[in-house]
Amino acid sequence: MSLIKHIQPTVVSLAVFTVLFGGVYPLATTAIVQTAFHDKAEGSLIRDGQTVIGSRLIGQNFSQPQYLWGRLSATGPAPYNAAASSGSNYGVNNPALIEAAKARRDALNLTGPVPVDLLTASGSGLDPHISPAAAAVQVPRIAAARHMPEQRVRDAIAAATQTPDFGVLGEARVNVLEVNLRLDGRLK
């Protein structure tokens, strides 16, 4: 056994793999997917003319009454900071978890139990969705703030609702940004 004779294969293999997996492979992937799925590869961005409004996949912070609200977000320094994703990492017994839930409940000003996803922070801090149940409880507030019939709000929600993929995978979900774009008349 000698280490010396392994030096050359080490150097050569590291060089080859760095070129192959650090260069050729990611560039080939980029070439394929930028051709096949250009918009998705760029981040599923939603534009209004030249201005980027957001991404279909990245949640935005909504706190005004006329908008549908999403999950709580624990990113810092502000919620839904898409340059620094983060969950809250609160343990189940952490008083801060309970305080955050109660504060959200008070802000929603609802009677009766509130769907749990509306009172809790997502893992990514950028969750673009809420559950259909969490959207439904917000309909009266949005309709009142917009002086619009509740059915129109429900229609906007229904248009942005996805059922589980293939009927089995994942959960039913409502894309919050999409609902709000529809309510503002910026997405047909």
Partner: protein, 581 residues
């Protein structure tokens, strides 16, 4: 609802296991062909590349190595990879593809990250989008994602050759194994998965971060990057280091339930397939099936338990006014319910819990939900799966060679109980093999417990703790469990990016990798030198249900006896505090 799990949850668990098995069996056969040096359907593409690498590296592919030679090559290759990555992270500020002008990493963070990726752990002390340039992610991390995985499979191949060899000291050629695994197995799989993930919305771009003008008039900076190419090998190579801080919870890493399924399958695909590779290479498929069965019989009940515990939810949140009952009644009022803190809506409870157990059963360590926010017992399950030594599927290669160490211990214990000479696959198990196997099993355990004690007793360790009470202890226990067993997931409340944690966790990763890998190669060398004796009436068959149960018993006993006191101090106390209300 059955056992606290919705029917949709059960269906997804069954689908997952069925799809995993259906993919693992054929892949296992293909991997066996690659490791045996046989021609396969990719040979026309890569034979010349292979030959070119051997020529440049002065490798004679037909020249087999002794176990010591093989080990020396593994060590030197890993050390070279470490130096390269360490240097790259320390100088990323002056390197290209850094549109956000991110600065060089601190030495302790560069050390931790380099060790983490070379040892196939991929612990995240770094926060991807705020720490690492595109160049570091692509040319640094992605490369190690491939080659550290290949090293694990190579060592497994050497062990299999040790089990089948007859009075030889040759275990194959490390360089040939390394090149073939990378080219014929990892590269094509990664390319397929990367494209599949992109079709779901995983991004792949070299643009700078995007600025969006939100509906409420704020400005939102959206981090982007070449994610898909790294995501694919991150999942396939049981690596798990995320492009973004929140890993596969981030919608750009894992946008849909379908991308989630592809990624979850990628976690366990190669580790599960290697069981069938093993059966084929030793010429007795039943042996591989028995090991796959033992892994599955531990995995599925623990996964179901984790789903049920998370679906049960947090009574504190119910008291605060939350409705946590799952509702599948029609699309207008559906919700996942349960403990949704730290979980994303599209994954809900079932997919977050299945991921948590899969990623810790394998030494993947990626997350799609925040484990620190799991219920105490729901979070105990990922922890114990790592504490079993990462052998329930485990890391690519390392999981199965770890499992074979447990098999050797099991035949030894069984032999003691019935007074038979222990043997496995016709090879007599002697004192040397048992010494090496004990070292491989016990060293990670000792690292976890000693380092956890050191951290909770010193101010540097205490400073990183985030959650109050017993959960704080669990964060530290989880961190060292994850590092010493080369997993990489975290109770991420812990502030681990400090010189203390970066150094100590880095050392745990190094020892946890190489002081298992080296004894395994020693066992391979020792077994290769022996002759296979034909089975007799006195031979304990190792493919029977009885043996599978006995093997599970040994794994569970070692894990539980070692860690029960520590688990009581953390998750169990936290659970008692939860139900007390």
């Amino acid at each position: 609802m059955f056992l606290g799990i919705t029917s949709a949850g059960w269906l997804q668990l069954v689908l997952y296991m069925a799809a995993l098995t259906a993919l693992a069996v054929p892949l296992g056969g293909y991997v066996a062909r690659v490791l045996s040096g046989q021609r396969n359907w990719l040979s026309p593409v890569f034979t010349r590349v292979e030959g070119l690498i051997y020529a440049m590296g002065d490798v004679r592919p037909d020249q087999d190595m002794t176990w010591k030679d093989y080990a020396a090559a593994v060590i030197l290759f890993s050390f070279g990879g470490f130096i390269l990555l360490f240097g790259l992270l320390l100088t990323q500020g002056v390197l290209p593809l850094n549109p956000q002008h991110l600065p060089n990493l601190t030495p302790d963070l560069a050390f931790n990250t380099a060790v983490s990726f070379v040892t196939n752990t991929n612990w995240q002390s770094y926060a991807g989008e705020t720490t690492l340039s595109y160049f570091s992610q692509m040319v640094g991390l992605t490369v190690q994602n491939f080659v550290s995985a290949a090293v694990g499979i190579a060592v497994l191949a050497a062990l299999i050759r040790g089990l089948t060899g007859q009075t030889t000291d040759k275990l194959g050629n490390f360089w040939v194994d390394l090149v073939r695994i990378n080219l014929y197995i990892l590269l094509p799989l990664a390319l397929i998965v990367a494209v599949a993930l992109s079709s779901q919305g995983v991004i792949q771009t070299f643009a700078s971060y995007v600025t969006a003008h939100t509906l409420e008039g704020a400005s939102q900076t959206i981090a982007v990057g070449p994610v898909a190419s790294q995501e694919a090998i991150k999942m396939l190579g049981t690596n798990g280091g995320g492009f973004f801080n929140t890993n596969s919870a981030h919608p750009f890493e894992n946008p849909t339930p379908l991308s989630n399924l592809i990624e979850m399958l990628s976690i366990l695909l190669i580790p599960a397939a290697l069981c069938f590779t093993f059966g084929k290479m030793i010429g007795d498929r039943r042996q591989g099936i028995a090991i796959f069965a033992a892994m599955t019989l531990v995995f599925v009940p623990l996964t179901a338990a984790c789903i049920g515990l998370e679906q049960a939810g947090n009574p504190h949140l119910v008291a605060a006014g939350a409705d946590t009952a799952p509702n599948m009644e029609g699309p207008a009022t559906a919700q996942a319910g349960g403990n949704m803190e730290g979980k994303d809506t599209r994954f809900g409870i079932a997919n977050s819990a299945i991921w948590a157990t899969a990623t810790t059963a394998a030494s993947n360590g990626s997350v799609n939900a925040m484990h620190d926010s799991f219920t105490p017992l729901g979070g105990l399950i990922p922890m114990i799966l790592m504490q079993f030594g990462e052998v329930i599927y485990g890391g690519v290669g390392s999981g199965l060679y770890g499992m074979l160490v447990f098999v050797i211990l099991t035949v030894f214990i069984a032999g003691l109980m019935v007074g038979r000479t222990p043997e496995y696959l016709g090879k007599k198990i002697g004192a040397f093999e048992i010494k090496m196997a004990s070292m491989a099993v016990l060293l990670p355990c000792a690292l976890v417990l000693i380092c956890t004690a050191v951290a909770v007793l010193t101010p540097w360790g205490q400073a990183g703790i985030y959650n109050p009470g017993a959960q704080g202890f669990s964060e530290v226990l989880y961190a060292f469990t994850s590092a010493a067993n080369n997993n990489g997931s975290a109770f991420a409340g812990l502030s681990a990016n400090t010189p203390f944690y970066n150094s100590l966790l880095g050392l745990c990763m190094l020892f946890g990798r190489f002081f298992v890998l080296l004894p395994v190669l020693a066992i391979a060398g020792s077994l290769a030198a022996k002759r296979t004796v034909p089975a007799s009436a006195g031979t304990l068959p190792t493919h029977t249900p009885l043996f599978v149960v006995f093997l599970i018993g040994v794994i569970v006993l070692v894990g539980v006896l070692t860690y029960a006191p520590a688990l009581v101090l953390g998750p169990v106390i936290e659970h008692l505090n939860l139900i007390k209300g």
